[in-house]
Symmetry: C2
Subunit: 391 residues, 2 copies
Amino acid sequence: MKRAQLQLMPLEEAQRLFFARVLLPDREEERETSAALGRVTSRACYAQRDLPHYPMAAMDGIAVRACAARPGEKLRRGRDFEYVDTGDPIPEPFDSVVKIEEVRELGEDTVEIERAPSPGMHVRAVGEDFARGALVVPAGACLTPEAIAALLATGNLTVWVKSQPKIVFIPTGSELVPPEREPAVGEIVETNSQLVKGLVSRWGGAVTVTESVPNELAILRSAVREALARFDIVLVGAGTSKGRGDWVAQVVRELGEVVVHGVAYHPGHPVLLGVCEQKPVVGLPGYPVATWLALQLFVRPVLERYYYGQERPRLSVWARLAQPIKSGRGFREFVRARLERLPDGSWLVHPKQGGASKLSTLVHIDGWIEVPEDVASLPAGTLVEVKLTTP
Amino acid sequence: MKRAQLQLMPLEEAQRLFFARVLLPDREEERETSAALGRVTSRACYAQRDLPHYPMAAMDGIAVRACAARPGEKLRRGRDFEYVDTGDPIPEPFDSVVKIEEVRELGEDTVEIERAPSPGMHVRAVGEDFARGALVVPAGACLTPEAIAALLATGNLTVWVKSQPKIVFIPTGSELVPPEREPAVGEIVETNSQLVKGLVSRWGGAVTVTESVPNELAILRSAVREALARFDIVLVGAGTSKGRGDWVAQVVRELGEVVVHGVAYHPGHPVLLGVCEQKPVVGLPGYPVATWLALQLFVRPVLERYYYGQERPRLSVWARLAQPIKSGRGFREFVRARLERLPDGSWLVHPKQGGASKLSTLVHIDGWIEVPEDVASLPAGTLVEVKLTTP
């Protein structure tokens, strides 16, 4: 008898089924605003005071009453005007500023102006940037340096942010050794954890990596069970196929439910998507490109849905293929690619083909090209959409 | 007499003059590779060993000798084949793998295969991902998670990276108070340091913010002199114009040279670009949008030139204007803008006009639109290039 093959599911169907079953529970925490860069707000933030909070000179110049400051007349300091610098309060009873370049200084404390100001000219009105109570940052927004500045300027010293989902990566395989060890024949340096740590942290996850677990059912089962007690998302590295020592599917079946096993895309089709104790468990195929792509296709969207309620549109660039691409029919092919800007401002794209095992195809890329299931090849010169993977 | 106005220089000329005078000295340091995420390499990195370092099964299946494995014949384990899983060494004398789905198991240790394998089939050859001595990461590359994984997999436990330039921000203005304090009339909460810290760190600078310095010549002079002794780039906040208490230009003249004072762009034309003791000194106009834009136009390029030897192309998106834009003739206008993806996949762009003082125009934007000096307005519906500011 022959061993069974995985029945491969179309990508969109797999994503739809899995995401419908995965809902990370909302959790939030209060943070000092100045320490919340990159976090995502869980509540809308409103101005606690007006910005500016007093009528403020917008220019260096003289403060005047617009109705009383006539061009060509002598204006006396104290009575008709007062010098102000940018940011100064406008002294009573003045309401406008004439900028200093338009002021002719006739003598000490006497000036004349060329043009009549309009009321409020060059004065920043109270609340013109943010009125007290106005929305500063909505809920579900990633806090940029600009947002942090706006929050602090409007009196928001703390901010409620979504808690970071706790994500664990369990590398499996008796052959794995840490990078510090020179690998013998049959040993493989464990480096997928670097992909998980780097990418999933960038997407807002708090990542923990466990020791490598050997290919044994009982050990893997207890590792996953323990992980489910402590983490929100469990990622298991390798062992996701149907070979000897591929125990991930069995463990997930025992502890919960396999939602999808095998998806029709390259590289990395033997991905496993499960749910145990209401928590997503993803079996990442062990080859580096397969791990990387499964993270992009199944983990990143889960985090975006948690943070933003939806997936965010990917930025993309249209570019001409520098070399032809070959693809397998019946599979969505994800071709890693490097962009090159041409002197005319258009983009050329260099595809990096090569199997799931080639870490070299992940270094120095800007994004990927998706080749549809019914396309077997694309000639050089084809205009293709490159979805950017850089953050 | 009237006070002198700044003579404004065209933007490209100002950038060219300033960047020609600024050359940060090359410095490098050795780092543990696993702690070098986001750093930029100062030396090329080569594979210290082959990856893979032994002939490796690329599939679960049986290892055979291609020349001796005939379809339809009984193959005996030990003599004609051996079972292998993905990642296993290929045992002598075998040279190829037949994947398990194509193996018919006839009995214990006896199988037959359907198709003759070609030599080397489903075997990862030694060095096929990276050959020993091959380039893994060139000099001048920002280390991604993917690059870190490739370096560790090829035996590069440490990596030489460019040292981070030390950048200081000196906020000036007697009216500045820290965010923790409720500001009285005439006081302004100092928040530009948040923009400097957040943006300049993102671009690879190691940022220090000093206490605010009052608008006094002697104090500012000694603050800048002290900063020049300890930092590679000095950024001074506000006081860059020609008003009372605007001492930055004088301090830079005393300690070095003013290269540019006043540039024909909005918002933020009174920027000051100087060189003291071979170090760049940038006077950032005090309004938040002006500070932000001066960082983008004059500080980010200095860091990119240090790290990459050149400025990097900005990603941009073409989008249709949702509202019209007005601009001032003779000035390059930088209009902050938020993108919206339409159902058809095209982009709509919402410009956020408003002066240099409006922090609100910096929150929730994706980039900017540049309106050329000779254009006074752009109607709604115009197709414009939005340069992305998100990292």
